[in-house]
Symmetry: C2
Subunit: 343 residues, 2 copies
């Protein structure tokens, strides 16, 4: 399978984030992508660098211009604040209580950033753009007739809303892929198998009936992202019934995950989409440091097979999954399961 | 003048907050209240300890039960999280993008706390309740016929919304005072002269026409609280026209402040209220470490005189104002100006 990947991600290296009030090392490191790439190449997949001359159109089809302008310029503005930290970190949030759009860098950081896990350094914007463009390139490969293509995106994307970063994510690569696929398909489904609820993806399509969003994840009652991902969240307006959340008990293993996955696939079949985006997090593995679910490497192969049996043209978009000895093997297991499903 | 004050505030001693991404010492210290009390006693004012048997009714008349339950219990719940910080500090916020009410301590912290400047320690809830009860006691003194009474509240309150802490504030003492005064007055005005916009107070009464909220403050375009305090914020629904913001350019001194104050007082006269709450921040002083405006000590005396000339029964509620050599003198200047206005 073709792997769309840009080496520009390495310029983005977030250092810390707050966990229960304590600063911890940020696990969303360049080494993640390097491990995934090395394993995929060793398994015989083919790396493709996305064209560097792509415009921002596919990003602007999903994100507000206010937000894209913020992301592109905030680090430079932040640097001019005397005594400010090296990375942009928010410290005040409007939290939905009235309030207008702020003028200042500090205010805009709080408006456009949900949490402390998405610090912005000098390399963040170019890395996020290159990551999104890998998703666009994979989607175009699928539009051009490929059965599937894989975008090795870093930073990940599924926690990014139309106008808000969060949880290591800035641009919603999976949403951008789905919107790109909409060019030739009336209905596109997104299936999110990351450990965490795809809250940004849900938010982007919450009022729409042309993109079905399905997410399997650790129950947000006691897990990030807390506010979103509950089973009762079904969409709004025209989008009611077009969002399907499958929260899983902490520690759920292969059998429980695959049973829930069947429910998600059943819902996707009922939507009869023309194409699929898989938001491919690998952090539901039992050894992942974020410690929410308990999939085995074999489980990822079975998940790949089950998804491939939808028979849909598919853009596979890398989301989370943090450094463990099994990280690369989990990706290869998924891709192997996906590619051999018909055989 | 009677000073309503509880020594219980000292159990609340927040340590740090994030400023432009950097941890700084929190200036909202017990020493502030001690300096204010010592100066007021030296000037001949009389300390009164609020009755300890007051119920939570006046607090519940302003804050949601969800929020009061959160404030009362969150520190004990936070302590049970393995490896959590000593103080409750939020790290993820819903920021108004859909999302439900979270079950977990971390989620609720982000839902009910706007920023990192309102950490919650073991002593926070009893201190905040005692602070609010001082405001209730001062208001009752006014209801019982006093021309004015002063509540030396700590922690301060005007950044607290009905369901959200922020900016060193947990319970909105000024709003609670106004609601208490509503028992016998159809219309009550709140005049906020703190350096910062009274965003919580505005939020609590934004849809109401029985409490007029007027705030003078440093322009939020580049100053805390960023999202709120702009001149265009006039209220909503029945409350349109009952909120009046007077943002001032950074560095505004006595003359500019007093000119804006006259506009605020003119608006209050047009509302013909039965009673007044003064949200009495002293941080607009030129030496205050939060460095926004440039009032002199004499300026506070003139402000006190101008407000007293409204001739309204008045509850004076302490808000911000941080340790400087002039802090106590600024309070005494205001009270002197207020008490001698008629003479």
């Amino acid at each position: 399978m073709k792997i769309f990947h840009s080496s520009k991600h390495a310029a983005h290296y977030p250092r810390n984030f707050l966990v229960n009030g304590v600063l911890k090392p940020n696990p969303e490191t360049p080494e993640r992508a390097e491990a995934l790439l090395a394993a995929a190449l060793a398994a015989g997949h083919e790396e493709v660098e996305p064209r560097a001359d792509m415009d921002l159109g596919p990003l602007a089809a999903v994100h507000t211009p206010e937000y894209l302008s913020f992301l592109a310029g905030i680090h430079e503005r932040w640097r001019r604040i005397e005594g400010a930290s090296a990375e942009v970190v928010p410290n005040i949030h409007p939290n939905g209580r009235h309030g207008g759009y702020p003028d200042s860098a500090v205010g805009q950081a709080g408006y456009h950033m949900a949490d402390t896990a998405c610090p912005i350094s000098q390399g963040t914007w170019p890395a996020a753009v290159a990551s999104a463009q890998a998703a666009v390139a994979a989607s175009r490969e699928v539009l051009d007739g490929a059965a599937a293509a894989y975008a090795l995106c870093r930073p990940p994307g599924h926690h990014a809303f139309a106008d808000m970063a969060g949880g290591f994510c800035y641009l919603n690569n999976s949403a951008i892929a789905a919107q790109t696929l909409r060019a030739r398909h009336d209905r596109v489904a997104i299936l999110d198998v990351d450990l965490h609820h795809g809250n940004g993806t849900q938010g982007i399509f919450y009022g729409r009936d042309d993109v079905l969003t399905v997410s399997l994840h650790a129950d947000p009652a006691r897990f990030y992202p807390f506010f979103w991902g509950h089973a009762h969240e079904r969409g709004e307006g025209a989008g009611i019934g077009y969002n399907f959340n499958l929260p899983l008990a902490r520690g759920t293993g292969d059998e429980g995950f695959l049973a829930a996955l069947e429910r998600g696939l059943h819902r996707i079949r009922a939507f009869a989409p023309g194409a699929l985006v898989v938001a491919l997090g690998l952090d539901a593995h039992k050894d992942d440091p974020l410690a929410g679910l308990a999939l085995s490497t074999d489980g990822f192969e079975r998940i790949g097979t089950a998804i491939a049996r939808l028979g849909l043209p598919s853009a596979l978009v890398q989301e989370g999954g943090y450094l463990t000895a099994a990280l690369g093997a989990n990706l290869c297991a998924f891709l192997r399961g996906f590619e051999t499903a018909g055989t």
